[in-house]
Every structure is written in C-alpha cells, then in structure tokens.
Homo-oligomer: 190 residues x 2
Amino acid sequence: MSLKFAILAALTERSSTGLELARRFDRSIGYFWSASHQQIYRELERLREAGLVSTVSRPGPPERGQPKEFEILPAGTSALMAWTINQDDPAPMREALFVKVRAAAALGNPGVEAAVTHDRQIHAQILSRYEEIDRRDFQDRDLDAQGRMQRLVLQAGIDLERTRIQWCDAVLTELRSQQQPNHEADASST
Amino acid sequence: MSLKFAILAALTERSSTGLELARRFDRSIGYFWSASHQQIYRELERLREAGLVSTVSRPGPPERGQPKEFEILPAGTSALMAWTINQDDPAPMREALFVKVRAAAALGNPGVEAAVTHDRQIHAQILSRYEEIDRRDFQDRDLDAQGRMQRLVLQAGIDLERTRIQWCDAVLTELRSQQQPNHEADASST
DNA sequence: TCTCGCATGTAATGTGTTACATGATTTA
DNA sequence: TAAATCATGTAACACATTACATGCGAGA
C-alpha cells in the first residue's frame, strides 16, 4: 500500500530509472522503506498507467534492456501530498527474534544466544551505516527546514537500532547469568 | 514463515482452540507477533498435516462450529527448538510514517502533523497496555528464569513504543518551530 | 565470439488482508 | 423464535520473495 508513495516520494526528490530507484531503496531510502527491484518495476508500471508518473522521452524507441527514466507528474504530487496527511494506524508488529526469545524461555533453550548475537551484530552494522550517513550528510552543516526533517527521519532509524542493540545486550546478560547461576537458586537442575 | 513458530510457541505455553489462540494473539502475543484468526486457522491445519500439532480428542464428531483444541506434538517441540537458534536476518524495515515525514519534507507540507499526532496517540495507547501487563504479570514478583525472559520480551515492546513516542514529539516540535519561525530566517516566503 | 555487467522484466510461490459463509449456543 | 455471540472456516485479492528470462553494450 505504501510502496507506491515511497516511490513517489523518491521521484519527488529526484527523477530516476527503475534500477537507480532500486539502488536508492537499497541505500538511503532503505532505512525507512525497503523494496526489491521486481516490486519497483511492477509498481512503476502501475503508476504510469494511473498517470502519476511518466517516462522521460529518450532518443530511440523504448525497449527491453534500455534504461527508462521516470519523473513524477503533478497528479502524482497531489496524490502524495494527500496521502501524507492520512491518519493510518501503524503496521502490526512482527518480530521473529522476540518470538524466538519467548519460545526459548518456554522451552528453557539457552541456544537462542546464537540468534540474539547474530541479530545484535546485524543491527550494529546497520547502525554504523546510518551514523555514517548522518556524518556525511547532516553533521556540521547548516540545515534548512527540509534538511532538519530528513535528518529526523534518519534519527528515527538510529534510535531504533540503538534500542534494539541495547535490548539484545540485556537478553545476552540474562542468558549468561542463567548459565552461571548464583548460589542461592538452582541447586538441583538437569 | 514465522507465524508457524509463533503458534507453536503459543501452544507450548498452553493448548488452545483456534479462537482462543486468536485472542491470545490479540492480547499478550500481539506485542511481538500479530495474526488474524483466518491466518491462524489456515496455519493450524498445515501444522496438523505436517504432524507438528494434533487436535485433542473431544466427545462427539469434530464439525464446523465445534471448538477444536490443539496441542503441540513432540515433533512440533523439536521443530520449534531448532528454529529458535536459527541466525536469520532481521526483517527489512517498512515504516509508512517515516515515508510520510520524508515526503512531507520534500513537499514542504506541514499537514503531516496530523499523521504524526495520530501515530503518537496510537503508540501511547499501546505503551499503556504494555505497562499494564508489566504491572499485572511481572512487577513486584519473584521471577524465575522463564519469567525474567518473558519480561524482557515485553520490555522490548515497551522500549520500542517509548522510542517511537519520543521521536514523534521531536518531529512535532520541529514542525511547530517551522510554523513560527524565528526572526533571523524566513523573512520572505509564500 | 564469448562472457560479464547493466537494465528491465516474468513467473511461481508464499504470506497477509478483507469480506463473507456456515453452524452451534445463548439469551431476550 | 429471533437475534446476538461464539467458533470455524472459504474465497478473492493484494503484497512480498525467490528464481529465472530477455536484451543490450563493453571488453577480453
């Protein structure tokens, strides 16, 4: 439902071909919306049919294998503008790692540590990438209103990653304390 | 992919009928994995075919409209145990609100305030619910290892909601400062 | 010419959402 | 007995993921 608008937002900032869009989604746009190139091509075609974007005219006939540049049309800008103020309910939560930890708690399975450690590592990588973007694009600059808002969106990603990493650390601490229990508790198990 | 295991985890904690499961997903399980009753029925049938769960025998023939209680089988426990230690990559981010704020930044549309305010309100509600569960089930209790892990999962939800709410506040502050700009900047706009 | 990388796409499958259907039990 | 509620489902659709297909241009 939102991919359509994520693409319109991306094209508002800059016209692009399908693959360029896919790359932008892999990089900067990915910290708030991810999409594969297959999704993007399909959605671009729909947006073109709906008259919200158009292909910029190029020399030569447009064929398979030739890059096609898309730009947003006024109708697309209007649709995006209207959507931005919608009061939609947030997407329901689906966090596989939380399921794992809860299941491991029920099963008494200390092996989850591997899953949590992995998750922590991936999120630490993502955090570094965000912090690098922040340094490169926003830190030590005089930002206008748009720049400050863009930075806030990046900051949301950074906040989420930090929260996640801290939580992983708390779980790992708890797991390790269970493996080396104190003297009071657990004098007779397994 | 994970719904299957979320159901197995739920049935590990307690055998349930389809609708009871749907209710548990609406309440406590919902803070880490959400699912509709239609999904749950479909998945329970698959799990039964795969031999991971079974229906508890009941007096009378099992027919449409009659409650069917499901319990996890040893094969189900094994499958869950194995999955818990999988080092899967986290799900890609898809946050519509971030797209909205970023799009609004590009469009210069202060109307996003409505969307952000709404999102903040919903997340504040969810946070209250989590905090109530924490008070009811975990606070002022002597928790065993399983209890402490269960609480940590709830804490993850609480942390996420708090982070989100703070971020919404930061965005709202920025939006309002743009509507009432200081004297230095913006002496000639619109 | 053969391979590689770029660019655009198709097809199949899986997962989630929405709307509706069916039957049993309770209660006004 | 009629309506509401509980409980289990079916069907159609939308969206996402994975694997693969097609065509072009550059360079070995």
